[in-house]
Amino acid sequence: MAIHFKTKPGLVVYLTAGDPSIAATRDIAIAAIDAGADGIELGIPFSDPLADGPVIQRAMDRAVHHGVSLANVLALAAEIRDARPDAGIILFGYINPILRFGLSKFVDAAAAAGADGVLVTDLIVEEAAEYLAEMKRANLAPVFLAAPTSPDARLKAIAENSRGFIYAISRVGITGAQQSMSSDAASLVARIRQFTKLPVAVGFGISNAEHVRAVGEFADAAVIGSAIVELIEHSTPDAAAGGVARFIQGLRRTVVAPTR
């Protein structure tokens, strides 16, 4: 459960595993970490990602078409862990492929691969008792989503059941770019902090330095997903790692300035 945010805000990079290939995702992840990402969220491909916008849907489709399996994703996590022992690694997915793999077997394999935590988009705390027990057994961090629509009672339950950090959804909606940070995000993070000392990461629609800087005003980390997945989509497989590294270095330079 070693997810440390070295800077404020920390940076977490989401990648759909296996898009454009498992080898490319490994190279991109390592380049992202070297460029300053504190952690990688490895998206497990699923045919019906109903919380995702068009960019991640297309990435999921490509990975599913390539036949990327959950076993492939776990092996990829292990490779990244071997290459970069200090980076945070979170497996990020939908429940059905995990159930199909076997919940207990998945948790064991994720721990063996060196993952720090797991986030299941369509698993709410009320349905998670068995999952939580397994995650605890394997000493993995369950990360839950908190939404601007979640009332305080739900945020309390989310805070009590999360480990590592809490993932706050920046605005009501699916993943994908937005123009500016909504005011939902800051008030959500403030509400979450009533219930926990855990770090809070903000994601969904964070796509540029301006957004990251805004998140840094009130949260501990920013998660960048669709913007990077789209960058990879528009790159050749060989150029993707370099492109992602430059993008993250650019964010680091403009956002994590020595004095603010």
Partner: protein, 407 residues
């Protein structure tokens, strides 16, 4: 925090569970809306004014009660069990779907939600919801797979005429499953202002229970009509099962009557190969799709399989969770009819009784045609004729080579 992924104690199901099936597998953003919906539905259910308004619309607008019709010529031709047809096809808009759309439309109005979204497969739920939105003065957006828009074009035109916006969905197999994904994405984005009228006994709690309750009227009427006409209960009730809304409505009041066989008919499609049919119980396994734990057609990686049926309304990879429970407990039986059997049943019912069934409902008719001859003459079969086939004329003309005036 009582319920779990697969509850270890099915004898104590939590809210929204049918045995181990059902539950709520949704993004956190929707949870507040689902809780609000559940509470408001419970209040509406107990509210005599709400029920009276719904009953009035079901009677005066939709045309309830529907007839229970004795299919005399079909019965005589088959030479076995006595066949009755529950005429949901006679309802306004042409299918049972209006029962649920009226109920949920009134609920949306009660909750002060002006914007309505819905998904549709065959277009019957979309037409019913567009109709109710016109009636109640609500804004309506219907998501429909592009493949379904092509094969059920008449219903697309009807929805647009009624003032609804029909949004084509081009992802995945461009059918019902993809339309539900897109409707859920819309709901996640616009949840503060929007009511999602889900059209089958599917999805996250409270939808499977609520949709079933709005269709219970089918079996309630059926039971009273049979007791009046025959003075006894039927041997079996037969209904087609896509998501399962007409079937659960036709079964529900008979579940305690253990001697009444409940037979659900899935789409056998073109063959038994994965991707060529929608037989969730024969080809699927337990999993989570679109908010609920039930039987799902999927590959070994847990990716949802594509499906095929000549009928858009049965062309879906999962099935309502209450059916999953009825299947596992053995209370209901699930069988299948393939595309050809459904087409044959359309022709047979049209020419024997002068009734053109929807391709979906024709799957249930096909099962009656299959089993009636080997049954005794005193036995009674009731087929839930969930919809009429006018919408299918394009497919039927092509498949059956019926020529029009320009041929």
């Amino acid at each position: 925090m009582a319920s779990v992924i697969i509850p270890s104690n099915p004898s104590q199901p939590t809210a929204g569970r049918f045995g181990v099936y059902g539950g709520r597998y949704v993004p956190e953003t929707l949870m507040a809306a689902l809780s609000e919906l559940e509470q408001e539905y419970e209040r509406a259910k107990a509210d005599a004014t709400f029920q009276a308004e719904l009953d009035d619309l079901l009677h005066n607008f939709a045309g309830r009660p529907t007839a229970l019709y004795y299919a005399k010529r079909l019965t005589e031709q088959l030479g076995g069990a006595k066949i009755y047809l529950k005429r949901e096809d006679l309802l306004h808009t042409g299918a049972h779907k209006i029962n649920n759309s009226l109920g949920q439309g009134l609920l949306a109005k009660r909750m002060g939600k002006q914007r309505i979204i819905a998904e549709t497969g065959a277009g019957q739920h979309g037409v019913a919801t567009a109709t109710v939105c016109a009636l109640l003065g609500l804004d309506c957006v219907v998501y429909m797979g592009e493949e379904d828009m092509r094969r059920q074009e008449l219903n697309v035109l009807r929805m647009r005429l009624l003032g609804a916006e029909v949004r084509g969905v081009s992802s995945g197999s461009k059918t019902l499953k993809d339309a539900i994904n897109e409707a859920m994405r819309d709901w996640v984005t616009n949840v503060r202002t929007t009511y999602y009228v889900l059209g089958s006994a599917l999805g996250a709690h409270p939808y499977p229970t609520m949709v079933r309750d709005f269709h219970r009227v089918i079996s309630r009427e059926m039971k009273a009509q049979l007791l009046e006409k025959e003075g006894r209960l039927p041997t079996a009730i037969i209904a087609c099962v896509g998501g399962g809304s007409n079937a659960i409505g036709a079964f529900y009041e008979f579940i305690p009557d253990k001697n009444v066989r409940l037979i659900g008919v899935e789409a056998g499609g073109r063959s038994g190969e994965l991707g060529e049919h929608a037989m969730r119980f024969q080809g699927g396994s337990p999993g989570v799709l679109q908010g609920t734990f039930s039987y799902v057609l999927q590959d070994e990686q847990g990716q949802i399989a594509s499906t095929h049926s000549v009928s858009a309304g049965l062309d879906y990879a999962s099935i309502g969770p209450e059916h999953a429970m009825l299947h596992d407990t053995g209370r209901a039986e699930y069988t299948s009819a393939d595309d050809q059997a459904a087409l044959d049943a359309v022709v047979r019912l049209s020419r024997t009784e002068g009734i053109l069934p929807a391709l979906e409902s024709a799957h249930a008719v096909a099962e009656a045609i299959r089993i009636a001859p080997s049954m005794q003459k005193h036995e009674i079969l009731v087929v839930n004729l969930s919809g009429r086939g006018d919408k299918d004329m394009g497919i039927l003309a092509r498949e059956l080579k019926i020529q029009g005036s320009n041929a």
